[in-house]
């Protein structure tokens, strides 16, 4: 058992937002079959959104590009999914939410409270949704205000998910911390684009989107490293984790836990593989506790 912002996790490998998180049943499957330590839902907003036209996700040589466009049924309709997940999963369920303003964030959070999510994750970092996500998340003042607004209306931990598409992620992390965040989550996808040279068309329906998977792991590690230096609150690492080695690397950079998104492409039980791998690694290296490796790279000079 492993505690993260007060949540009890069986292991530190968490399902990332927007991946297999559309329905309660899917979230439960990731816990049941995948052995995730916790799961984060699809980001839910104030109004139903169908998202961008397809193609909305493509696999690249290195990683994936996606521009889902925050499709979601809105919080009133998502309540039943969250309730299902809470009822049928023995791991914490974190509700990812988004909005265009602090009060919209608060509205969505309050709207989902009846389903008793174990925590909220604020998506101020999606790189391909106009007026949402990174549009908000690259401004420290707004990040602080959004965080504070949600903290005001909920009594569960609030995580703030950050975008790497800024010149200084630590300053955004500081803003989240000032707003009362219990943890930051880094990183959301990196702005990216691919073009079909046979036709000249951008491949994604939204033209551009966000890069995830293997390609972004070094970017995520660097962001985590910088956030760990700058903040008091825990940093949850995400971006390109597809093996237990990646998870250990992120933890050494400073991640208190990791989230896994794109790598479910290869196998849903990646979470169990990561947690077993970490255990074996700690044992082989003689670390008494997972805490010994969190931030270890900062000590190696």
């Amino acid at each position: 058992m492993y505690t993260l912002t007060g949540l009890k996790l069986k292991n530190p490998a968490i399902l990332a937002a927007g991946v297999l998180g559309t329905s309660g049943a899917s979230l439960c499957r990731v816990v049941r079959v995948g052995r995730a330590g916790a799961v984060v839902t699809k980001s839910i907003g104030p109004l139903p959104k169908t998202g961008h036209p397809n193609p909305s996700m493509v696999k690249l040589d290195c990683g994936f590009l996606n521009a889902m466009g925050l499709p979601n049924p809105s919080y009133p309709d998502f309540l039943q999914e969250l309730e299902f997940a809470k009822k049928n999963s023995d791991a914490p369920v974190i509700a990812s939410i988004f909005g265009g303003t602090p009060s919209e964030f608060a509205e969505v959070a309050e709207g989902l409270l009846p389903a008793k999510p174990d925590a909220f994750e604020l998506n101020v970092s999606c790189p391909h949704a106009e007026g949402y996500g990174a549009a908000i998340g690259s401004n420290p003042c707004i990040v602080e205000a959004v965080t504070a607004a949600v903290k005001d209306v909920v009594n569960v931990p609030v995580w703030v998910k950050l975008t790497p598409n800024v010149s200084d992620i630590a300053s955004i992390g500081n803003a989240a911390e000032s707003g009362g965040a219990n943890a930051v989550v880094a990183i959301n996808t990196v702005k990216g684009m691919a073009i079909d040279i046979e036709s000249g068309y951008p491949v994604l329906g939204n033209r551009s989107g966000g890069l995830s998977g293997k390609a972004v792991k070094p970017v995520a590690v660097k962001c985590i490293y910088d956030l760990y230096t700058a903040l008091e609150i825990p940093v949850i690492g995400v971006g390109g984790v597809s093996s237990w080695e990646d998870a250990v690397e992120m933890m050494m950079a400073g991640a208190a836990a990791v989230q896994v998104g794109s790598a479910v492409y290869d196998r849903v039980d990646i979470f169990s593989e990561i947690s077993t791998g970490i255990e074996a690694f700690l044992k082989r290296k003689g670390y008494s506790d997972i805490k010994k490796i969190i931030g270890l790279a900062h000590e190696m000079v």
Binding site: S23, S56, P73, D77, D196, V203
Partner: protein
């Protein structure tokens, strides 16, 4: 894998609203029942079953399919795939029944062909609105027995596929593969459950696909949480017992929509 560029080599008008598009790329290792994501550039990308190693067979429905219908030989579209899990191939000497409703015949045609190539027997029950909408009738006939139902009785049994199914001896079949509109599949499912043959059935489902590659979760079904695009689209009947099949699906926003 970015979409590959598929150039149309040949188009066959199968019925008033259904066309087969042959293209210049062969999916040599495709399993019958697998699908591709067809990218109609500038419009949308939609899932289509493979009707052969180098063809899709499309019913004109909305924006993307209408745009596809405007394409001529030499025009091209993008293709990603093949994706998902196909039908389980029979063993030599086994007997297979295929139950096809409308464009549901698409993935069943390569399945019937593969079954025959293995040395299995493949009989088909095709259901359609009326005789002119019967898809692949001749090609299925060349492979085995064909039973027909039409809503208007213009050919075969008048009624739905499930009505024609009632009169068949299901015990004679080792495997039953079903693909068609959801309501048709749901009624067939009920009948096959009733007849206690659900263990030997497989159903090819459709749900709204966003990523098509098993990551986003848009296509997951209740209560198993299985992904239609990756764990399916072909599921065993057993996997579907007590499922949302025939009850509801989710639209592009994830909202539940009654079937």
């Amino acid at each position: 894998m970015l979409p590959l560029n598929a150039t149309i080599t040949h188009i066959i008008e199968e019925s008033p609203l259904i066309r087969t598009f042959f293209f210049d790329h062969e999916f040599g290792d495709m399993e019958p029942g697998q699908f591709v994501m067809v990218w109609v550039r500038g419009v949308d990308e939609v899932p289509m079953g493979l009707s052969g190693k180098n063809s899709i067979t499309v019913q004109k429905i909305g924006e993307a399919t209408s745009k596809l219908f405007e394409l001529k030989e030499g025009d091209s579209f993008g293709l990603r795939g093949p994706f998902g899990k196909g039908f389980t191939l029979p063993a030599k000497g086994e007997k297979v029944l295929l139950i096809a409703g409308g464009v549901g015949a698409v993935p069943l045609l390569p399945y019937a062909e593969a079954a025959c190539a293995i040395g299995a027997e493949a009989n088909t029950l095709i259901g359609a609105r009326s005789s002119e909408y019967l898809l692949f009738e001749g090609r299925f006939e060349a492979l085995g027995k064909v039973y027909i139902s039409t809503d208007d009785g213009s050919k075969g049994v008048k009624g739905f596929a499930v009505d024609a199914l009632r009169s068949l001896n299901l015990a004679a079949y080792d495997r039953i593969a079903v693909c068609g509109p959801e309501r048709m599949m749901a009624s067939v499912f009920s009948l096959l459950e009733e007849r206690k043959v659900i263990e030997k059935t497989e159903f090819s489902l459709h749900r709204y696909f966003k990523c098509g590659i098993g990551v986003c979760g848009a296509c997951c079904i209740d209560p198993s949480g299985l992904r239609v695009c990756k764990d399916g689209p072909v599921f065993s009947g057993v996997q579907l017992i007590g499922s949302e099949l025939g009850k509801y699906s989710r639209d592009a926003s994830g909202r539940r929509v009654k079937i």
